[in-house]
């Protein structure tokens, strides 16, 4: 999002401003997901039983597994910032490598999870959902929309991490100029933050 530019004739560098910009972007994202949570709240309020039954169809193990690895990846990003601040390029790259691996793993899990659900007949417009009625249709509609948009953010995050790794290798990000890494980290924590709420709301309904 934030670009650091050697712009026109004066060089304007303001890391604090760049971070503020990133936070503002995060607020935008929070409101975007917030509205999805609002829809979830409304429809769950109107269809409590169907939502509970829908939740029982989801695999708690995969959900928990994805939660755990996403939390670990958040920690590795945070640690990579520490590594860069200490000037330890190699450690930073290793930590970011782990993060990237986890991001991909998360999507692979999601692929199999969705694949199994679709094969079973849970997808928008399917006959099965039609038979199970409105509440279940809404539950799975929201499930696909919300986890889908979340997965899209993971995908964007992967792109950002590849760019950051590249920049660290080229010494463009180093111990005195690492706001790109910090902002990418903030973005990644946001992705984690959303998942922290998606997980109990879809997988752990009781």
């Amino acid at each position: 999002m934030e670009k650091h530019e050697e712009h026109t004739s004066h060089v304007h560098r303001d890391d604090e401003g760049d971070k503020l910009g990133m936070w503002l972007f995060i607020f935008t994202e929070l409101l975007l997901f917030g509205m999805l949570f609002l829809m979830y709240a409304v429809y769950r309020y109107k269809n409590p039983v169907a939502f509970q039954l829908g939740g029982e169809e989801l695999d708690v193990f995969i959900g928990t597994f994805n939660t755990v690895i996403l939390l670990i990846s958040s920690a590795t990003v945070a640690m990579s910032i520490t590594a860069i601040q200490r000037g330890n390029k190699k450690q930073a790259l290793i930590l970011l490598g782990i993060t990237l691996f986890i991001a991909v793993l998360f999507l692979v899990n999601k692929y199999f999870e969705w694949g199994a659900k679709i094969e079973y007949g849970f997808y928008p417009g399917s006959n099965l959902l039609h038979e199970l009625g409105h509440g279940t249709t809404l539950f799975f509609g929201l499930y696909y929309v919300m986890s889908g948009i979340h997965a899209l953010h993971i995908l964007i995050g992967i792109g950002l991490f590849i760019y950051v790794v590249h920049q660290i290798r080229r010494e463009k990000i180093h111990s005195t100029d690492y706001v790109w890494l910090e902002n990418t980290g903030l973005y990644w924590h946001l992705v984690d933050l959303i998942w922290i709420f998606l997980f109990p709301l879809f997988y752990l309904i009781h």
Binding site: G34, L71, S74, T82, T176, L193, H206
Partner: protein, 94 residues
């Protein structure tokens, strides 16, 4: 950040934070099997809220950054909760 004193979190602190988050996750899964009626959701949301707070405070560095970020973040969350509340003026009484 350039030459100003920038707070550097240690690896240990990050690991501790991660540990806390994992414990809370386990707790969240564990309490699901308890029968608490409508309080199940409440507890689940409280745990998720705590986890979110931890991520914001330490991983996202709000504790050490300019206070204005923390103030804005709280304001945005309050705004969202108010919108949610006002929406339910409709749905709770329909």
């Amino acid at each position: 950040m350039s030459e100003e004193k920038q707070h550097i979190s240690s690896y240990t602190s990050h690991i501790l934070v991660l540990g806390a988050l994992l414990v809370l996750t386990a707790a969240s899964v564990a309490v699901t099997s308890l029968e608490m009626g409508k309080y199940n959701t409440l507890v689940a949301m409280l745990i998720a809220g705590t986890k979110a707070g931890i991520v914001l405070t330490w991983f996202m560095h709000l504790k050490f950054d300019n206070k204005i970020f923390a103030i804005f973040t709280v304001a945005v969350i309050v705004l969202f909760l108010l919108v949610l509340y006002v929406t339910f003026f409709d749905y709770s009484y329909r």
